[in-house]
């Protein structure tokens, strides 16, 4: 099957995946969003305003950086980093939240809600809302509040209200449930800025489109700096927004191999990882039909990843489509491999990557070592790792950092 870039269809289907599986109450708002988005993409003033924000507020285009020392250490293909970590707020998430904030204003909605896992999307939403004067509530699992404390402070400083979610696994999945419940009651006045390419139609399309600025830039920078397209593009996949934005503009470039890296956690046993495309089945979660980690009864499974942003039992429907069509190869990376890649990038290049992005770096290093020096691999460095510093120190054992143990 050939993967088309002319997806989704009007019903939000990417091949057989996607669609809309939500309570009837939300249909009205999803239709309204889809219609407004159609109008916005045809409105040159909308795109011009977003481009201006991307340029002067976010700092786009983000650089494509040749990681020479890291490449040398791997002894194979050249590794290039698409530096989304240099964006305002430190990750790719802001590309989407600014676009959706503009849509919020166009729809005349006066309040914004969002979910967050690692906190990057929460910070990016709080930032966009501060910029546009919109009140903002961010739902975040209690476990994630603990492991991503710096982002919680940032959101509060930006004027957002952070509501802890104590149900279920207290992570991203439960934060999405709680944001959806808020939206069920507030749908007439509130826009839900969903942060990944998941959820009911039209979210997977809108978020992919806004994030595609990553791949479009990388593609033209590659032409400019390498004189050609890369042989391979690698990105980490939780819900899959940075990967979707990175891959989408390359989908029709058949010579470019696309590799998505999921969270392999501690191992391949159920509950030990969050590698949905590697180990899950097609099913329904959070409003869309896609691969999901479920038990045989359709109950969502608990998953694990060292990184809060990948700790999610579902994945965007377009990734399921790309997997089914064979256009993208999905592999997984264990927690310890991601930690080692974090160190390697920090020590060799002076860049602290987000733990999420470290998964992509780890597998890119491995793949680079198997390729010739003439080949080029672009890695989406989706975010910076400052938010993870304390958690990594804790995991490594505080003694190494001269801190007193919590015990």
């Amino acid at each position: 099957m050939h993967a088309s870039s002319h997806v989704p269809d009007a019903a939000g289907r990417f091949g057989e995946f996607g669609g809309r599986y939500v309570p009837e109450t939300l249909t009205y708002a999803l239709d309204q969003l889809a219609e407004e988005y159609e109008r916005a993409v045809k409105d040159s003033a909308f795109q011009a305003e977003l481009d201006e924000l991307w340029k002067n507020y976010v700092g786009r285009p983000s650089p494509l950086y040749h990681a020479r020392r890291l490449s040398e250490q791997c002894g194979g293909a050249q590794i290039w980093l698409k530096r989304e970590d240099l964006n305002h707020t430190g990750a790719h998430k802001i590309n989407n939240t600014l676009g959706q904030a503009l849509l919020t204003r166009r729809m005349g909605k006066t309040r914004v809600i969002a979910e967050t896992g690692a906190g990057q999307h929460g910070v990016a939403t709080a930032t966009a809302c501060a910029r546009f004067g919109l009140p903002c509530v961010v739902y975040m699992g209690e476990e994630d509040i603990r492991r991503q404390a710096p982002n919680v402070f940032s959101m509060k400083l930006l004027g957002a209200e952070v509501r802890p979610v104590t149900s279920g696994s207290r992570t991203l999945r439960d934060a999405i449930n709680e944001a959806m419940r808020d939206w069920m009651s507030s749908v007439e006045t509130t826009h839900y800025i969903l942060g990944s390419v998941v959820g009911p139609h039209p979210f997977p399309r809108i978020v992919r489109d806004f994030q595609s600025v990553i791949g479009r830039e990388a593609r033209s920078q590659s032409r400019e700096q390498l004189g050609r397209l890369p042989e391979m593009v690698v990105a980490c996949v939780g819900g899959g927004s940075n990967a979707a934005g990175m891959f989408y503009p390359f989908v029709e470039d058949e010579g470019v191999e696309l590799v998505g890296v999921e969270a392999g956690g501690r191992g391949e046993l159920p509950g030990q990882h969050a590698a949905t495309l590697s180990f899950g089945h097609p099913g329904v979660l959070h409003g869309s039909y896609s691969f999901v980690m479920q038990d045989e009864d359709g109950q969502t499974c608990d998953v694990h990843s060292i990184s809060a942003g990948l700790d999610y039992p579902g994945v965007g429907p377009e990734h399921s489509y790309w997997k089914a069509s064979g256009r993208v190869r999905y592999i997984h990376c264990r927690d310890d491999e991601a930690m080692a890649a974090f160190d390697a990038l920090a020590r060799n290049e002076g860049i602290l990557p987000a733990l999420e992005s470290s998964h992509a770096v780890a597998k890119a290093m491995e793949l680079a070592s198997q390729r010739s020096k003439e080949e080029a691999i672009i890695v989406c460095l989706s975010g910076r790792g400052d938010k993870d510093a304390a958690e990594i120190a804790r995991l490594k054992g505080n003694a190494e950092f001269g801190m007193r143990s919590a015990e």
Binding site: R20, Y21, T25
Partner: protein
């Protein structure tokens, strides 16, 4: 004609309204759920709605969420729930209807779900996350098996869409009273009665109102316009007491509560 159609036909001929309680299957365990259903049957409930616990119920408020979590902590399985309905459906007159997420139905297999549910005496299903646009394949199987697929309309549903949903629904039309999630509320929205009156002109289907309904005053307010009322959280909250109080006390409490609402719904007394 399905068992649900028969219930409403009979009620209409008697000028009476349906009282539809909702209970979570397996909270605190399936034996008690069966006891509650028998009690509800004895008190004369018209239909009983059985909530199939789901890990990610986005339309549910804290009370039903918590009951689902408790049931799932005990690793309850769909096949055990259907085992319980197989026993109870033989003992009580009121047809049983499942409230079940599409995630569960899909994983089980649409055909297998409908066939197995029907074999265990379940008369229909409410699938709260299956929109009319996506409901074709399941609706087709339900039609073939004479198994009701009850669709929902809400205050945010545009009118032409509401007509489309009513056309696709069977058994009855579930009219969600509020823009929001399940849970008890002090009062119902003022436009509700007007919306129901409008729907009445559009469809022959019985109209049953749920979400937020918990007090005799609500029921009195709705009785003139609705064919039935659905009460969930207020019952589930009472059943949750079985974790700490003697089960016979809880059963009696649920029975008394349900009877107080039924008296408000059909003030002329028992059947």
């Amino acid at each position: 004609m399905s068992a649900i159609d028969q219930v409403f036909q009979q009620l209409r001929s008697q000028g009476r309204k349906a009282f539809i309680p909702f209970v979570t299957a397996g909270d605190p365990d399936l034996d008690f759920t069966a006891d509650v259903l028998r009690e509800l049957g004895k008190r004369g409930c018209s239909l009983c709605e059985i909530g199939v616990p789901y890990s990610d119920p986005i339309a549910d408020g804290p009370v039903i969420q918590a009951s689902y979590t408790r049931a799932l902590e005990r690793k309850i399985k769909l096949r055990e729930i259907l085992g319980m309905t197989a026993r109870v459906s033989r003992e009580i007159e009121a047809p049983l209807v499942t409230m079940v997420s599409y995630a569960i139905v899909y994983r089980h297999g649409l055909e297998a779900f409908v066939r197995e549910a029907k074999e265990t005496g379940v008369a229909g299903a409410i699938v709260p996350d299956l929109l009319v646009e996506e409901s074709g394949p399941l609706a087709e199987i339900c039609r073939r098996e004479d198994f009701s697929l009850i669709q929902l309309v809400t205050p945010t549903t545009p009118r032409e869409r509401a007509v489309r949903i009513a056309d696709a629904s069977s058994g009855f039309l579930y009219c969600v009273s509020v823009t929001g999630i399940t849970g008890e509320r002090r009062s119902l929205p003022p436009q509700l009665l007007e919306n129901i009156a409008w729907l009445r002109e559009q469809t022959e289907l019985p109209l049953c109102i749920g979400f937020g309904v918990s007090q005799p005053e609500h029921v009195q307010q709705l009785a003139p316009v609705a064919d039935g009322v659905i009460v969930g959280s207020a019952i589930v909250r009472r059943i949750a007491e079985a974790a700490v109080h003697p089960r016979d006390h809880v059963l009696a409490d649920v029975g008394r509560y349900v009877e107080s609402l039924m008296a408000a719904l059909n003030p002329d007394g028992a059947a």
